[in-house]
Subunit: 384 residues, 2 copies
């Protein structure tokens, strides 16, 4: 089996992720922050260890500004619904995932926010100058992805953050694609909020994610409930991260996420990026030899977070993925990738795209086998 | 170590929970419902297997009416925020957890709902006739816990459900305490919604929970985002369970939860209940011998979901728990247990209570050792 669906969820995980989760759940997994007994304290410490590792990874001073969520979608919903009020104007892009677009569209339809959706260039890249042109006095937020989950194009998120800051606007970075192999540094990026999943580039398990919230940002919580703190209050406490962490946390998941981030620290962001670049280059070069293939991803690896998307002339993307899976055990994803406006942008709203997304654990020989398999499928399809 | 904090999270889990999670995360953990490749399909099937097991446990015909959440708190927030509108009247009880009280209090403060909080009897038990007396034309919802997380008293939830149904009112059952050892049958209970955690009585891991939503109930979603279905829509699809399951699910967690429910099926609800009753009876009888102890839990095991709460005259609950943990490695919980109105009801708002909560895996000898330890602590405290 060759797994090339790392943009959906990374697989496999580092061995330490499995081992740390197993140890947690078998030996000390009490309710973190809910009791003062030894096991509960050990669980709390383990959760906060992961919090600190993530703070270090994105260069945040106070790890308490990082709140754990079940996935990036929850983090994005907290950010968008917690911040925006009637009359606010938001700028976003056609390259966003539905986890950004749907919360914004719902607020536009039911809560009276105004929404501007910026188009990208040929590769879907967003120009910060175009964002700037759309800023009005009412603009409260710019929401943009770190890189596209459809074709991998990396956005100029540093410049977009600067544009936001220079205009007194908040910037929400959706770091779902790229965190863990691309440097995201809060001292350089000027993001007010960063939403991230734990189970993609950070190499943790599913059921984890988080939201960084800058100290000066006040959001309404999406949920309320038991926080283990200030139990006597009948309203939600303001304290971070408790305000956004109601109910029992996913302790074993967060422990696994900590091991994932530790693996990234030890391996080095640069080494991970270099490896992924090598895989992407080989894949792109291989596929570009076949004139029946139309590629949608950036050719330059420094502009690409790890995705090679394509279509085969005359074939639906799902047909190709089904053959890759059924005949060659190559796991990748077809369709719209929950990003309908990006596909509209590329003119692939009907066919979708075949998306191959690489991870640090893929090998060059897997890439070579994938290229051969695709070439053989195209040969068979054209023969019939 | 003796673990008596099962009301916070159950520990240990059945061996099959650990093994199934390990197998999932190591061998097939792709993104469920997001791709058509074999691993993704296998993950989807595993998630839906758990969904069906839970549907069977609570006797629900269509498992798609069960939506997975990260914990019971998320499920309760979806139920409360998704249903209630300005002007609605809600009846709840003083025995609720903050995961019910806080969402309702926030709606009362900011969204114009009316809230009636019913008091319980000496043990905190809610009388359905008192609920009935408070029903008005505006009453939309009755929200009540299956049993108290403070003292274990089991509520007459079947009768409360009937009262709701007879008056055309919806009933939200918070099944956080008791599901997995107390029969909850949707054909008998008349609940419109049931919120449950996966990591307590269902013996699954943290990071799991769910909400059963009856077919005729329409709730607004708390979050929106990628659902893997109808990706071309820029608003949230209405389809269940997708409407409430935006973003990547916690596949290994849900797989573990399925193994937990399977363990319950195989062992039998009655056998689990009988074992817990035996432990509670021994604990209650043992502690009631010491005249320095004030007990707050129901003496009759058929009225108790598995908790023995008490205070020691002249001592704060946290002092006792700290000694139990530090000197005897007995893990239990002091304080307010996120249920401030229940403690107000019992007059323990300042001292809290020592809560011992048993699980299926506790033994009688652990209970005997706990009783001895508590007696010795009281002897030492009184000596000083």
């Amino acid at each position: 089996m060759i797994y090339l669906d790392n943009a959906a969820t990374s697989f496999p995980k580092p061995e330490t992720v499995y081992a740390s989760m197993e140890k947690c759940i078998r030996t000390y997994c009490a309710n973190p922050g809910r009791g003062s007994h030894s096991m509960s304290v050990k669980s709390s410490l383990a959760v906060n260890n992961t919090r600190e590792r993530i703070a270090e990874l994105i260069n945040v001073e106070n790890s308490l500004n990082i709140c754990f969520t079940k996935n990036a979608t929850e983090a994005l919903n907290i950010a968008v619904s917690g911040l925006l009020r009637e009359g606010d104007h938001v700028i976003t892009t056609c390259m966003e995932h539905n986890s950004v677009l749907r919360p914004l569209k719902i607020l536009e339809k039911y809560k009276g926010i105004k929404l501007t959706v910026i188009d990208g260039d040929g590769l879907g890249r967003i120009d910060p100058f175009i964002i700037k042109r759309h800023i009005t006095k009412k603009t409260r937020l710019i929401a943009c992805t770190l890189s596209s989950n459809v074709n991998g194009i990396i956005m100029p998120f540093g410049e977009i953050g600067r544009t936001a800051q220079n205009n007194g606007i908040l910037f929400l970075l959706d770091a779902s694609q790229g965190l863990g192999s691309i440097e995201v540094d809060m001292k350089k990026t000027y993001a007010s909020m960063v939403a991230f999943p734990g189970h993609k580039g950070l190499l943790g398990p599913q059921g984890t994610g988080g939201l960084y919230i800058a100290a000066d940002i006040r959001l309404n919580p999406l949920m309320s409930g038991g926080t283990g703190s200030k139990s006597e209050y009948l309203l939600q406490p303001e304290l971070l991260p408790d305000k956004f962490e109601s109910g029992t946390l996913n302790t074993p998941g967060i422990v696994g996420l900590g091991a994932g981030v530790e693996f990234i620290e030890k391996t080095g962001l640069n080494a991970i990026r270099t490896k992924k670049n090598e895989l992407v280059r080989r894949l792109y070069d291989g596929l570009s030899q076949n004139r029946n293939i139309k590629l949608y991803s950036p050719e330059k690896v420094e502009e690409n977070s790890g995705i090679v998307s394509f279509n085969v002339k005359g074939a639906d993307s799902s047909e190709i993925c089904t053959l890759l899976d059924g005949k060659y055990s190559i796991e990748c994803r077809s369709g719209l990738h929950c990003a309908p406006l990006a596909h509209k942008h590329f003119g692939t709203g009907k066919t979708g795209m075949v998306r191959l997304s690489v991870g640090y654990f893929n090998s060059l020989s897997e890439i070579d086998n994938t290229i051969s398999a695709i070439n053989r499928i195209i040969y068979e399809v054209n023969k019939n």
